[in-house]
C-alpha cells in the first residue's frame, strides 16, 4: 500500500516511568494516505500521534519524516514541525489573538511571509472551512466546532506535508462533530496525508485508507476499514468493537 512512505516509525518504545506506553511500534504512512488510529483509552494512540512531531520524546526506535530522521530539540526540529500540522483535542487556539492572527502568526514568523500575503492566505483558508466572517473574533467567542475548524485552517496555513489529528472531535458537542469531520473528509479527498486518532467510527469507515487498532501500547491490527470492521482478527478488537458499535 505505502508506495511512497512519508511517516515511518520503527521499533518505537516509550515509557512513562514504569509504564510502557508504546511497545515496539512499527507504522508506515504513505503520501496521501489517511490512517485512522482507534483503540480503548490508555492504549497509547494519542501518545503515538504526538511522538510523530516530537511533542512526546521516545526512548528507543526511530521516526522518519519524508526520509529524514526526526531531529532533537532546536531549529531543525522546529523546521520539521512546520511540515507536519497538528490539530488538538482542546483546539489550543492562541487565546490572546484573533482568529485571523491565529492563522497568520506562524506563516509570518516561521514561513517568513509578509503580513498581507499571510492574511490573504488566512482569509482563503478561513473561507474554505466556512468561517470567513469570523476572522476578527477571538477564539473564546466561537463555538467548539468553529474553534476546531480555525485550528485546522491554522495547521493548513503552513502548507504541511501531513496533518496529525489528536482526537479532534472528542471535546465537541455532538451537533458540532459533523462540521469538523466534513472539513476533514474534504481534506482526505484532496489527498492530504493524515493520521487521525479518533473515536468516530463513521469517519474511519468512510474516509480512512487504513485503520490501526491499538491496545495496551501495541498495534494490534493494521488493515483496511472494511476488513477491520466486518472481520476483526484479534479478540481485543472484537471486544472493543462489540462495545462501541452496539449503541
Amino acid at each position: 500500500m505505502a508506495v511512497d512512505p512519508l511517516i515511518e516509525l520503527r521499533d518505537v518504545n516509550k515509557y512513562y516511568g514504569e509504564l510502557h506506553v508504546l511497545q515496539d511500534i512499527n507504522l508506515t504512512v504513505g503520501k496521501g494516505e489517511v490512517v485512522v488510529v482507534i483503540g480503548p483509552s490508555g492504549s497509547g494512540k494519542s501518545t503515538l500521534c504526538r511522538t510523530i512531531n516530537r511533542l512526546e520524546t521516545i526512548q528507543s526506535g526511530n521516526i522518519r519524516l519524508d526520509g529524514q530522521p526526526l531531529p532533537a530539540e532546536g531549529r531543525a526540529l522546529a523546521q520539521l514541525r512546520a511540515e507536519v500540522g497538528m490539530v488538538f483535542q482542546s483546539f489550543n487556539l492562541f487565546a490572546h489573538k484573533t482568529v485571523l492572527q491565529n492563522v497568520s502568526l506562524a506563516q509570518i514568523k516561521v514561513r517568513g511571509r509578509k503580513r498581507d500575503d499571510a492574511d490573504k492566505r488566512s482569509h482563503e483558508l478561513l473561507d474554505r472551512v466556512g468561517l470567513a466572517s469570523q476572522a476578527a473574533k477571538f477564539p473564546a467567542q466561537l463555538s467548539g466546532g468553529q474553534q476546531q475548524r480555525v485550528a485546522i485552517a491554522r495547521a493548513l496555513a503552513m502548507d504541511p506535508k501531513a496533518l496529525l489529528f489528536d482526537e479532534p472531535t472528542s471535546a465537541l458537542d455532538p451537533e458540532m462533530i459533523n462540521e469538523v469531520l466534513e472539513v476533514m473528509r474534504q481534506l482526505a479527498r484532496e489527498g492530504m496525508t493524515m493520521v487521525v486518532v479518533t473515536h468516530e467510527m463513521g469517519f474511519a469507515r468512510s474516509a480512512a485508507n487504513r485503520v490501526v487498532f491499538m491496545a495496551d501500547g501495541r498495534i494490534v491490527e493494521d488493515r483496511t476499514p472494511e476488513d477491520f470492521f466486518t472481520n476483526p482478527h484479534s479478540e481485543r478488537a472484537k471486544d472493543f468493537l462489540s462495545k462501541i458499535l452496539k449503541h
Partner: protein
C-alpha cells in the same frame, strides 16, 4: 512642618536618589527576571540549572549581605564602580530572583496546549515563549510583579547605609542639625508613600489595560 520647608532640597535630593535607585534597579530586575524565567523553562538543561541557581542564591541571601558582597567584594576583583551603580546591581539582581519566580508562576498558568500548538506550527522556543506564552502569562503576573517592585523601592533604603544618597538616609543629616526625629521620619514616610503609591497606580493601569481575562 518646618523640617520639610527649610530642608526641602535635602529631602528632594534623597527622594530623587530613591526614585533613581528604584527605576534603574526595576529595569535591571525586570530584564534579568525575564531572562532567568526563560532559562528556567528552557528545553536546555544547563540553562535551567543556571536559572535555578541564580534564583536560589539571590532569593536566599539577605539583601544587606548582598550589598556587602557587591560593594566590598567586587572591588577586590578589580571592578571599581560608583557606589550607586553597585547598589543598583545589588538591588536589581536580588529583585530579579523574585520577578523570575512571579513570571514563572504566570507561565505556569498558561495552558500547556498553547505552547504545544505554537511548537507544532514550527515556532522556535524563543518565538513560542515571547509571542504565545508570555503575553498570556503577563496578564496574571501584573499584581505580583507590582508588589515586588514596591518591595524593591523600600529595600533601596539599605543603599543609604553604604553612603548612596537616598530618602531614608536624609534623617542622619537632619537629626545632626537637631530637628525632631519623629517629624523627619514622618516626611520620609510620606516620600516613600508617594513612590509606592505611584508604582501601585502604574500597575493598576497596566492591570486594567492588560489584566482583563479575554
Amino acid at each position: 512642618m518646618d523640617v520639610l520647608t527649610s530642608n526641602f532640597s535635602t529631602f528632594a535630593k534623597g527622594f530623587l536618589g530613591t526614585v533613581e535607585l528604584t527605576v534603574y534597579s526595576s529595569v535591571l530586575a525586570l530584564v534579568l527576571g525575564f531572562v532567568m524565567a526563560s532559562f528556567r523553562v528552557a528545553p536546555v538543561g544547563s540553562f535551567r540549572v543556571f536559572g535555578t541557581v541564580w534564583v536560589t542564591v539571590l532569593r536566599n541571601t539577605p539583601l544587606t549581605l548582598l550589598f556587602f558582597a557587591v560593594l566590598l567584594g567586587l572591588p577586590r576583583f578589580g571592578l571599581v564602580l560608583p557606589f550607586k551603580v553597585f547598589a543598583i546591581l545589588a538591588l536589581g539582581c536580588y529583585t530579579s530572583a523574585f520577578i523570575c519566580e512571579a513570571l514563572r508562576s504566570g507561565i505556569n498558568t498558561v495552558p500547556r496546549g498553547q505552547g504545544e500548538a505554537a511548537r507544532s506550527l514550527g515556532m522556535t522556543f524563543g518565538q513560542t515563549l515571547s509571542m504565545v506564552v508570555l503575553p498570556q502569562a503577563f496578564r496574571s503576573v501584573i499584581p505580583p510583579v507590582g508588589s515586588t517592585i514596591i518591595a524593591l523601592a523600600k529595600n533601596s533604603a539599605i543603599a543609604g547605609a553604604f553612603s548612596v544618597t537616598e530618602l531614608l538616609g536624609t534623617y542622619k543629616t537632619l537629626s545632626e542639625l537637631g530637628y525632631n526625629i519623629i517629624w523627619t521620619f514622618f516626611w520620609i514616610a510620606v516620600g516613600y508613600l508617594i513612590i509606592t503609591l505611584t508604582i501601585s497606580a502604574i500597575f493598576n493601569v497596566l492591570e486594567k489595560r492588560w489584566g482583563v481575562p479575554r
